[in-house]
């Protein structure tokens, strides 16, 4: 059954009706109209739908909305207001990481969560944090480079 749900998304309180098992992805996209978070596979294989729940990167396509009722959700539309997110966005543009861009919301969310937890990631940290995010355009070389630039920017 549908039920009234209240979530804190990007610092704002949002109330809406949705079945409790409905994945957060579709709440964001189809109920709240926040289309920056993307649908890629629906089975947590590609990472296009990555958002932050309490600062951790999660796949919103398999996350029931009821599971985040009392949590803080951050999406690509707001990640630039976090220090790590802003650095990642800047580094992404400086390195010209992006091609089609469809997966990049998820890539940026994953990278921002990585840098928030591990300010100076090495290659294996980057592999571990980013291997869940597929980019069909093949921007991986630049993603790695941009994460390192963002990390260095943090140090300076």
């Amino acid at each position: 059954m549908h039920m009234a749900t209240t979530l804190t998304i990007n610092g704002e309180t949002k109330s809406f009706d949705a079945p409790p098992e409905m994945p957060l992805l579709w709440v964001l996209r189809d109920i709240l109209g926040m289309t920056g978070t993307k649908f890629g596979c629906g089975i947590a294989q590609c990472g296009a739908c990555t958002v932050h729940v309490d600062g951790k990167a999660v796949r919103s396509c398999v996350l029931p909305v009821s599971a985040v009722a009392n949590r803080t959700v951050t999406t690509i539309e707001h990640v630039g207001s976090t220090p790590a997110g802003a650095k990642v966005q800047k580094a992404w543009l400086e390195a010209e990481v992006i091609q089609c861009g469809y997966c990049q919301s998820g890539q940026i969310m994953a990278a921002a969560a990585l840098l928030a937890a591990t300010p100076n990631p090495d290659d294996s940290d980057i592999d571990a944090a980013m291997a869940g995010n597929i980019c069909r355009c093949g921007t991986y070389v630049r993603i790695r480079e941009a994460i390192k630039h963002a990390a260095n920017g943090r140090q300076s």
């Binding site: 949705a18 994945p23 579709w26 289309t35 649908f39 629906g42 992404w92 089609c100 869940g132 069909r136």
Partner: protein, 722 residues
């Protein structure tokens, strides 16, 4: 017999650049969260000298994009070409998607508004420079007449006209109205490339700032007032139809609005994608699977191997091939490539609102006008009643050269009076693609004195062009399937290319990034490596000895040898492989270095590519396209195969149709050579390079001469020899 059907993509050239005035549609590339797509701003451009340029009184410079942006950077490169000759202020340039109109925006190579075949820059290089230069001349004329001086005494730069003698200056915005009244000059001089100030600079992409913050709008992001959401299940067997549908459980689910039954698919419309998906799962559908329900991949390969034994239509024949093959050391091999799905990250989708008098579409397509005409048929409306709003594409790779998703969405939307967004699940997207065809490429060659004396190459496979652009399929030859076979870079005195059309049972085929050259470059470069070994020569030296008449190819090959450390000692079971390719009028040499462990698993260590694409409009985009193309091709070589059982595609999502990930990605170095030649194509070229270079690296490391893709690890375990 010497026969050379002079068929090439260039022979398709139809129509010239049409110019004329057009309402300046304003279709923003971004939309505010929570707000529907903004209606069009139909304000007329103040200075609109042709279909591409709009300058208003404030100097705002809007460029209309005839080609679509799917990641290849074309919006920035096309803008650079226009802005260069316009002498626009680059910092003020904005881009808009062009509406469907073949006359105004048709790709000069095809006469259709199509983005594909890596030819956006190649096709538009001169027409858009002329468009920019003409507009600039009109702005100069306007300023000169205002000042009462000769236009030739004025100069233009960065969005301003100046009269140096008197020190006067006017910005383009201030000249916009007056320029609109000027007669366009007939012949305008184009700049000497040495005077370029925008082209060749490392330009920041115009489309990416909104791609880091969720504001960029793809087709799948369209939001309309009152819109509902649908998802579909098509008959899993190709060609099958819907039999009986029991929707009694589905229709009772909360949020489910309607079940739409079409000829070959069923759609559920709901308040959101989740409701639509739940509804679809609750349906009981009986399919009439039809005659294809028993087809397997093996049947298709049996057919293709049999068909490939036939003589083909001769595409090119130089010298005396029969005589050449009768002497020397003979070599024969067949190379086989699998079906592949596109798997763009944005699953196929279309949003449609069918009203009594019109049909409006929001999608991301590579074929604007074909979508419009096919939608008109599906809606039962005249073409001019179909409005197509194009968007950024979340990857195209050829999948969005097809209108099928729009046709289906129109048929669904006809059943309701509200707008409906139809989104394919990843499973439906992969199982109802238009697949890169299976190919079988046979090469017969003879070696005399360590060089190729005779080269006979027969390509067998689907003729995608025969379906997609029937007039281009002539004399039994698919010019796409043999594109890089007839254009082989080497100096072969006796050279013969044939094509056998062989359509796979039931499986629809289409263009896939890299297109025809994917099969040609693979076969040619694998064969060249095997021939080099037969001749006892180093693979690069062997190739060089037959590139003496191809200085651009020779130069990139020499450079890649140096940059990749070719010839330097490697550990056991590590190899380097090379690929040279003339595809899309670019000259590229690539070396892949790979390690193969004892159980046959492959680690990519390093890739080096040297690229001569002529004038690189945006050199960083050239690099990015090669990097990405290499990964796209290497992904296919390592993992890509769609197989069929009981008439159905067996793969369904990224767990069984694998993609390369960041942890598998090697170091990639791309060197873009400076050149003054006309620009070549770049979006697909990297895809061609990866598979043969990797295969040749494996050959060097293990001695196993693989002749099929994807790579079969079982053949590579320690101790195996080909």
């Amino acid at each position: 017999m010497n026969a050379h059907n002079n068929l090439s993509r260039r022979s398709l050239l139809t129509g010239g650049l049409a110019t004329g005035f057009l309402l300046a549609f304003h279709l923003p590339l971004r939309a505010a969260v929570n707000e529907p797509v903004q209606p069009r701003d139909t304000t007329e451009g103040k200075f609109a000298p042709n279909a591409f340029i709009r300058i208003d009184e404030t100097g705002r410079t809007v460029l209309m994009m005839p080609q679509v942006e799917m990641g290849q950077g074309t919006y920035t490169s096309i803008s650079a070409v226009l802005a260069e000759e316009l002498d626009a202020d680059w910092s003020k340039v904005e881009v808009q998607h062009a509406p469907p109109n073949d006359k105004l925006y048709g790709n000069p190579t095809f006469g259709l508004q199509v983005t594909g075949n890596s030819n956006s820059i190649r096709a538009w290089w001169l027409p858009l420079r002329q468009a920019g230069a003409t507009a600039r001349a009109m702005l100069v004329q306007a300023a000169a007449s205002q000042w009462g001086v000769e236009p030739s005494s004025c100069t233009a730069a960065k969005g301003e006209v100046a009269h140096e003698a008197s020190g006067r200056k006017l910005a383009y915005g201030a000249l916009a109205l007056a320029a609109q009244g000027q007669t366009p000059p007939k012949d305008v001089a184009l700049k000497d490339p040495k005077d370029f100030v925008i082209i060749g600079q490392p330009l920041k992409r115009l489309d990416t700032p909104d791609k880091v913050n969720g504001k960029a709008v793809y087709g799948i992001d369209a939001i309309l007032p009152g819109m509902k959401f649908a998802t579909v299940a098509a008959c899993p067997v190709f060609g099958g139809k819907v039999g009986k549908v029991d929707d009694s459980a589905a229709i009772k689910l909360p949020g489910v609005r309607k079940v739409v039954v079409l000829d070959d698919m069923v759609a559920v419309i709901g308040d959101h994608m989740w409701a639509a998906k739940q509804g679809l799962e609750a349906l009981k559908i009986e399919w009439n699977e039809g005659p294809n329900a028993e087809i397997t991949t093996k049947d298709i390969w049996d057919d293709l191997r049999k068909a490939s034994q036939k003589d083909g239509a001769v595409a090119k024949s130089d010298g005396d091939i029969a005589k050449a093959l009768a002497s020397g050391d003979r070599f024969e091999a067949a190379y086989e490539l699998p079906f592949l799905a596109h798997a763009s990250m944005e699953p196929i989708n279309a949003t449609v609102h069918v009203r009594p008098d019109a049909c409006e579409i929001w999608t991301g397509t590579q074929i604007m006008t074909r979508v419009q005409s096919e939608a008109a048929k599906a809606a039962g409306l005249p073409v001019d009643k179909v409005i197509v709003n194009n968007h950024l594409l979340g990857g195209g790779f050829g999948r969005k050269l097809e209108p099928d998703m729009v046709i289906a969405a129109v048929k669904i939307a006809r059943q309701v009076d509200y707008p409906v967004k139809v989104v394919w699940t990843r499973e439906e997207d992969i199982q109802h693609d238009v697949y890169r065809p299976v190919y079988r490429d046979q090469i017969t060659a003879s070696l005399v004195d360590g060089k190729v004396a005779g080269w006979k190459y027969k390509v067998a496979g689907s003729a995608v062009l025969a379906r997609w652009l029937p007039p281009a399929f002539q004399k039994g030859i698919d010019i796409d399937a043999i594109d890089a076979a007839v254009d082989a870079p080497y100096d072969f005195a006796n050279f013969h290319v044939e094509y056998v059309r062989a359509e796979p049972l039931s499986v629809p085929t289409g263009f896939w990034r890299g297109v025809g050259p994917n099969n040609n470059v693979f076969a040619v470069e694998c064969a060249m490596d095997e021939l080099a070994r037969k001749a006892g020569k180093d693979p690069i030296e062997f190739r060089k000895s037959m590139l003496t008449k191809n200085p651009r190819m020779l130069a990139v090959l020499s450079q890649v040898a140096e940059k990749s450390g070719w010839g330097q000692k490697l550990p056991p079971r590590v190899g380097r492989g090379v690929c040279v390719q003339p595809s899309f009028a670019s000259f590229i040499a690539t070396v892949v270095e790979a390690e193969i462990d004892d159980i046959g698993e492959i680690t990519l260590r390093r890739v080096t590519s040297v690229v001569d694409t002529g004038i690189a409009v945006n050199p960083d985009t050239v690099k990015a396209q090669i990097e990405g193309g290499l990964i796209f091709g290497l992904t296919a070589a390592l993992y890509g195969e769609i197989t069929i059982d009981k008439g159905r595609v067996q793969q369904s999502n990224f767990h069984d149709y694998r993609m390369m990930r960041i942890n598998e990605t090697p170091k990639i170095e791309v060197i873009v050579v400076k050149s003054g030649e006309a620009p070549g194509g770049i979006g697909e070229a990297g895809v061609n390079a990866g598979p043969p270079a990797l295969r040749n690296a494996i050959y060097a490391a293990t001695g196993v001469a693989l002749r099929r893709l994807p790579i079969d690890r079982k053949l590579l375990a320690a101790g195996k020899k080909a």
